[in-house]
């Protein structure tokens, strides 16, 4: 092998990636060639610096916790869903069923019960939010990675509604995005799914079990806001959310 050929193999030699015969040939050349052995020494020293410079990025503890929680979350939620959902839906329906059924609801009552149930679960849970971030550049991609759709995630902080984060939730067997906002002392859960995935009256504006529920449509998505905010405040929130979502904010 020529000097130039050897030279081109020195990195692989240093990494111990050459086959035995080639390695021996390079070793023999290094004995005789001052230039190559100096080059190799400098290379070794430079790589030593790189390795000892401690410039790896440490894993953020928050990310590790988030991933561990997420690995457990979907299953637990499904299991919880089965156990809780029956109980909750039955409870909610038993408590307010007569009231609900006495009115001419445009929707099957169980969707409302589910929405309220999901919100109650979220409030009771120690882990109501899977991705904790006020930045829709973080929340939106995370949701896209969990769901077969990419929901709008409007940022409304400048209008008094702080985005706390999001989670994936189930309404019946449909996976939906749940955005969590804070307005004053109240939390607002916004459930979002592609139009038609779950049928809902786009003008839904009702209450159940102390919660107000209001529907909105933003582009190709249906949304329902659930909160213990007053009806007027929630309506104002819905309008802000809808306007920002429609304007492409998130």
């Amino acid at each position: 092998m020529t000097h130039d050929e050897i030279r081109s193999l020195l990195d692989a030699y240093l990494d111990d990636e050459l086959d035995l015969a080639t390695g021996l040939a390079v070793g023999a050349h290094l004995q005789d060639c001052q230039q190559c052995s100096a080059w190799l020494a400098e290379r070794r020293s430079m790589l030593g610096q790189v390795r000892s410079a401690a410039i790896s990025y440490p894993l953020p503890a928050e990310l590790s916790a988030r991933i561990r929680a997420q690995l457990r979350a979907p299953q637990q939620r499904q299991h919880r869903q089965v156990q809780w959902f029956g109980a909750l839906a039955a409870g909610v329906l038993a408590a307010i069923g007569g009231f609900l059924l006495g009115h001419s609801w445009p929707q099957a009552p169980d969707l409302r019960a589910e929405l309220v149930g999901a919100s109650v679960r979220a409030l009771l849970s120690t882990h109501p939010i899977d991705v904790l971030s006020s930045d829709h550049h973080t929340v939106k991609p995370w949701l896209s990675s969990q769901l077969p759709f990419s929901p709008p995630v409007p940022e409304l902080a400048d209008q008094g509604d702080a985005l706390l984060g999001a989670r994936v939730d189930y309404l019946g067997s449909t996976r939906v995005a749940a955005l969590v906002y804070q307005h004053g002392h109240h939390q607002i859960n916004v459930y979002v799914w592609p139009l038609g995935a779950i049928d809902i009256d786009p003008h839904l504006n009702t209450q159940a079990d102390g919660y107000h529920l209001m529907a909105a449509q933003a582009g190709a998505f249906s949304a329902v806001m659930v909160s213990d905010l007053s009806s007027a405040e929630l309506a104002a929130f819905r309008d802000r959310w809808k306007a920002t979502a429609a304007a492409g904010g998130g």
Binding site: A12, V50, Q75
Partner: protein
């Protein structure tokens, strides 16, 4: 079925989670910012869980890193398409400014830090295809064969990219040593 899922997830955790640090480090170097790297790793882990059945034993770290690497590339392609690459440049500018401020400081105590920051900046500036190969080799100590599998290219490509990356770093390091004396 549900129990099977839980057991499968536990098995997955035992295989994959020990390599979370390596996964994050790789994503962080590829994406060049913290928030994107975190999302990429999270997405990659969920994807890995989904494809866990395709894991045939062997080096779990290399297996996970391959998924992380592919997720990171998908991420970059997606953001580039949406015209959202501005972040990188502003971040680079600020670290460049920091480096120049520090390097005017004559104190020897900061010399190591300058060196580390200089190296970090130099690696950050390498083209993506060289950067990822360098990280997999110098920080993860993977073999050429493993790196070739991860990036989906022949070993010869790994060799030449690695050599070019090291050549560039050597230039920087040499320049700094000259400047520091």
């Amino acid at each position: 079925m549900a129990l099977g899922d839980a057991a499968r997830t536990r098995r997955f955790e035992a295989v994959a989670l020990p390599h979370l640090s390596a996964a994050y480090n790789l994503a962080r170097w590829i994406c060049r910012n913290e928030a994107d790297a975190a999302d990429v790793v999270q997405e990659a882990v969920m994807r890995a869980l989904q494809y866990f059945d395709s894991y045939r034993g062997g080096d779990a770290r290399a297996w996970l890193l391959q998924i992380v690497r592919n997720s990171a590339h998908t991420w970059i392609a997606r953001n580039r398409f949406a015209g959202q690459v501005a972040l990188e440049d502003s971040e680079l500018d600020s670290s460049e400014a920091d480096a120049s401020v520090i390097s005017e400081d004559p104190m020897r105590a900061v010399a190591t830090q300058i060196e580390a920051e200089g190296l970090r900046l130099a690696i950050t500036r390498l083209p993506l295809e060289q950067r990822e190969v360098l990280i997999l080799r110098e920080f993860e100590d993977l073999s050429y064969r493993q790196i070739a599998d991860i990036i989906g290219s022949p070993i010869g490509t790994v060799m030449s990219r690695l050599s070019r990356a090291r050549d560039q770093l050597a230039v920087i390091v040499r320049g700094e040593q000259r400047g520091a004396v």
